[in-house]
């Protein structure tokens, strides 16, 4: 009798938790392709072994009438850094191109969008408020879901450099570039992205991220040496025109597997990585919940700042999601404007995407389209 009671209690706990895990893993995130999207292909089209897997991501192709350069935007390399996915979402649903092409991946590591951090107490999802009610997104993690890649080794050796990295990072998309064709799911996904860059002759690849404030590489453009001048010019213009400042860091040669290093080395593309501040990721953060994720307000992180332990300022206003998303959209727009001015034949002209000030003023939700207003046949899901 007692045994039965204990077993039932355990089953109830497992049932509630299991339902929550299942729901967040299978939560469908609608995408309303914007006026610029001419077609949607799959990552598996560039590397067949990825086809049909959880990481066979949608690739939204936005094309202008006139030929020009090709840009790749990577959202969801680390899904626990939501401003990156949201900025990519805004480009997909709003951008209009007159010249050139933009390829957008919203879930570069789709597997990682379906899990949350063990021991991290992440919320399963979050909602961006919109005029039509709100759009819900999966929270996601930094690493691929163990349900899609298991087991981990006792130490992870990066391909091809053999640099030793923490064992969990074998499931970290931003430690597995340029990828390995016969490797793990994460390595194969990186290989597929690298193949896409080669085959589509991408000129600039931009990887959206966010970072904890205690991490030195923050509020910055990390640039491969091929993109150092472009990043420096963008940083200068942003600081004087956009209402916020962003630094530039050289991609270190000693740290392997990162997109800004490996994609630049392995392909003809310029590889850049954007970091926005996300207090939710700080080790000193207080209560872990949706509010912290979206407002970026945290008393403990502010205290760390007062002690000079942070690499970005923070006060009681926090780092709201709109600020972080706006930093990303403005930075991309500035990069494109400078690039297009210097490379007339490879120009990419884009309109319809809100800049920093506009995202803050209207909110990110103002640029998410209501899926109910669209013919369901034209919807995509992440």
């Amino acid at each position: 009798m007692r045994k039965a009671a204990i077993a039932v209690l355990g089953a109830v706990l497992a049932l509630f938790a299991g339902t929550s895990f299942y729901r967040s893993r299978h939560l469908r995130e609608p995408v309303v392709p914007g006026p610029g999207v001419s077609r949607v292909v799959k990552l598996g089209d560039y590397f067949a072994p990825i086809r049909g897997t959880v990481n066979d991501a949608n690739v939204y192709v936005l094309e202008g009438k006139e030929p020009g350069g090709t840009i790749l935007l990577l959202g969801g390399t680390h899904p626990e850094e939501p401003a990156g996915r949201l900025a990519a979402w805004i480009f997909t649903e709003n951008a209009v191109l007159t010249r050139g092409r933009i390829l957008v991946i919203l879930s570069a590591n789709r597997s990682a969008t379906t899990a949350t951090r063990l021991g991290g107490a992440y919320p399963p999802d979050f909602t961006i408020p919109t005029a039509w009610g709100g759009q819900m997104f999966r929270m996601g993690d930094r690493w691929s879901n163990p349900l899609d890649q298991w087991p981990d080794p006792e130490v992870y050796l990066h391909y091809p450099t053999r640099q030793e990295l923490a064992y969990v990072d074998i499931r970290n998309l931003n430690r597995a570039f340029p990828g390995r064709p016969n490797g793990t799911l994460t390595e194969q996904t990186c290989f597929a992205i690298t193949e896409l860059i080669r085959r589509e002759k991408v000129d600039i690849e931009i990887d959206f991220h966010e970072a904890e404030l205690q991490y030195p590489v923050i509020s910055t453009i990390v640039a491969h040496e091929k993109g150092a001048d472009l990043a420096a010019a963008a940083s200068m213009f942003i600081s004087s025109l956009e209402g916020f400042s962003i630094g530039v860091e050289n991609s270190p040669k000693a740290l392997r597997g990162l997109s800004h290093r490996e994609i630049g080395d392995a392909t003809d593309a310029i590889s850049l990585l954007l970091e926005a501040p996300e207090p939710f990721l700080d080790a000193t953060r207080g209560r872990t919940n949706r509010e912290l994720l979206l407002t970026g307000k945290d008393e403990f992180v502010v205290r760390a700042g007062k002690r000079g332990l942070l690499f970005e300022k923070i006060d009681e206003k926090g780092w709201p999601i709109d600020v972080r998303v706006g930093r990303h959209t403005s930075t991309v727009l500035q990069l494109l404007e400078i690039w297009s001015a210097d490379h007339a034949d490879k120009a990419v002209d884009v309109t319809g995407v809100p800049r920093y000030g506009e995202v803050i003023q209207k909110g990110t939700g103002a640029f998410l389209k209501d899926p109910k207003t669209v013919d369901p046949a034209k919807l995509y899901f992440e």
Binding site: K3, I6, A7, G10, G18, Y22, R25, L147, P151
Partner: protein
Amino acid sequence: MDTIVTLLYYLLTAYVAVLLVRNFLKRKNWQEEVLYILVLIPFILRLLRLK
């Protein structure tokens, strides 16, 4: 090859889950029973591919 390894891990998980259930049924102390159930939950959810 990776798929075979993963499959072996599910078999291993199932075997340990069976051992946990067997030991749970043999125990006479409620504290040990509760602990067995707590340890068992992750094994079951992994086997059901829920987490």
